[in-house]
Symmetry: C2
Subunit: 252 residues, 2 copies
Amino acid sequence: MANSSKRVTAAVLIIGNEILSGRTQDTNLAYLAKKLNEYGIQIREARVVPDIEGEIVDAINALRARFDYVFTTGGIGPTHDDITAECIAKAFGVPLVINDEIAEILRRRPSPPEIMEARMRMARIPEGGGLIRNPFGPHGFYIDNVYVMAGIPRVMQAMIDALQGQLRRGETIQSRSVTAYLSEGQIAKRLGDIQAGYPHIDLGSYPFYRSDRYGTILVMRGSVEADLDIMLEQVKQMIVDFGETPADIERG
Amino acid sequence: MANSSKRVTAAVLIIGNEILSGRTQDTNLAYLAKKLNEYGIQIREARVVPDIEGEIVDAINALRARFDYVFTTGGIGPTHDDITAECIAKAFGVPLVINDEIAEILRRRPSPPEIMEARMRMARIPEGGGLIRNPFGPHGFYIDNVYVMAGIPRVMQAMIDALQGQLRRGETIQSRSVTAYLSEGQIAKRLGDIQAGYPHIDLGSYPFYRSDRYGTILVMRGSVEADLDIMLEQVKQMIVDFGETPADIERG
């Protein structure tokens, strides 16, 4: 899986104690993975870090150097535990400044001074950054290759929708999958041989147990559709050769 | 959140292309977080990496140096894409060796030579490592402070159950939570003041929108129950002061 020039890569940084404590089940990573693949961007790493400045700064700097994009979720509200904007500014070595566009949007909803002061925290973004628009409420921001979004799924989803067409587009990865009611041990050698013939396709093998039967889901992922179809035929033939019928074939 | 001597820390390393592609929704992290807290261990970071040797080796070495424990999930089956054991061995600079105990268990189920050869891949663990027993099937292993488990949730769960009592025990974190039908902007200042009085308690604020109402769940997490109860009373009083009724109070 060499990083060809056609592949645009991303990391996701999930910020929040509530994910690490198990209180909240993250669903943003899986959503982002599918959505970003539609945009021609592949997630190559994800990290979850607590609401601690040093941890967030270090993770941002490690990831933004290695991947084309970094997408963060969480920590952009008005309360004391929302420290993402400060951390991104520190990571880039720039000050936080009031973004006039966000400030104007926040001022449109009148509030008593104390509440307005808290809400105006959300107008501060790192110097040199820009706005991620969100028609449904709070806004995100970006600076260089780092895109900073909310943690609440429906708000994050509105923000990633707003980014459509604004990001560099690479290959989209297609997939084929087929279920074999065979154990991984039975098919391991044949599967390895098939994989060896197509190093640019990822052939994944995911065992399961359901309705009292053991089986394995075989998933092929790559950008060359013709090769995916040839590999799918080889995998189907393998299943037939072991005396079973290929099931649940999916193309995506 | 200083790392006191009573706190035992862990990182989780989730290994698998299927998580990064969004094909599979990870649930192991949330499960492990709750279970490890019962064991007196706190997860401080999680990473998801693809089935690529260099990525896995680097992540293992970064995490095992920083945390008391590392728990990995995924990549321990018999197929070509199961490379976790090799990667852990490389990270520790030791060879893979046949573990006699695992080999004996695998030999108990008779198989044709080709299948047995594939299954025996699962008996190879890094030299110096030991077995994580699992009554329901495949086994995991550990070496030093790294614990290597399956990706399939029910198998992983059996493995982490098997580790009960074998890990160093630190503080268990308790929590209190209460719902306020108030916006984060309204309560931000008061909440910051309450947090400032108890730096050893994490006071988290999680906004939501449901049944047509906006609200915020306030979560307190710490190891001193008496302080948690005092903070809970302060947060409840704040909600009352803003004209609302504290709802859905939970202790955990």
